[in-house]
Symmetry: C2
Subunit: 143 residues, 2 copies
């Protein structure tokens, strides 16, 4: 194999790998804060979406979280079983399901209010670096 191809296959020359590993690390860093609330990371970001705007369709949740219904539907069912939300079939279009928070679901927001600040403080980046990273990541997501 040519030298350049050989180099290109080294783990340290991949961009995908630190992205993949850093994502797992950050998601894992949420666990100590989420576990006391009985939430997983995916459930947490689902709550973020619903706290921001209640009554979204499943498809709108999927779009915002960039996840498909095969991932989101079981999550919603679990949170519904725990009493945090209700899934209501739309009357105008029976294909659609609207997701509505219960009082318990809204109350969870208060309990989670400190998490972003705690996570920020455990991240080894300055605010400028965080902003830079944020913008580069959204370039990937949009491009």
């Amino acid at each position: 194999m040519e030298h350049d191809k050989d180099d290109a296959l080294k783990l340290e020359n991949q961009l995908c790998f630190p992205l993949y590993a850093a994502a797992r690390k950050i998601v894992g860093a949420y666990t100590p804060y989420l576990k006391p609330l009985g939430l997983t990371y995916t459930q947490y970001i689902l709550f973020l979406v619903l706290w921001e705007r209640d009554g979204l369709l499943v498809s709108e949740i999927c779009e915002r979280l960039m996840l498909d219904s095969g991932t989101v539907t079981p999550l919603l069912k679990k949170l519904e079983a725990k009493g945090y939300l209700r899934r209501e079939r739309s009357e105008s279009d029976e294909r659609c399901v609207r997701v509505v928070l219960t009082d318990e679901g809204r109350a969870m927001k208060e309990r989670a209010g400190d998490i972003p600040a705690k996570m920020c403080s455990c991240m080894a980046l300055s605010p400028e670096q965080a902003k830079q990273l944020y913008e580069l990541l959204y370039m990937i997501l949009k491009g």
Copy 2:
């Protein structure tokens, strides 16, 4: 809830989310190149490690990939079953397992040689931006 806490809980103000979503997007972007080789992304990066240095211990693979044995052991068993590697218990310390590529495992490297270049070209970042991102991600991984 105070305004600042409310804002901090918005999805668009999270750094974790674009990290998590971009990682999934990039991993997914490998699929069309890996599927013809019968590999998943995780299997691919495991190969990257072994192509770089053959005969590593399971623990060394786990360290390099930042994954635990619960993830890596089943991966290794699958690749062993496909004939790409052998798992050999160390004679000097029977707790350790050494992972050795077969001819088929080494041959896979030739078939994967073009993947890094193809992935690079489908990424919406300039080389400078990629370098910046790379460095920020490793700050997270090391910090």
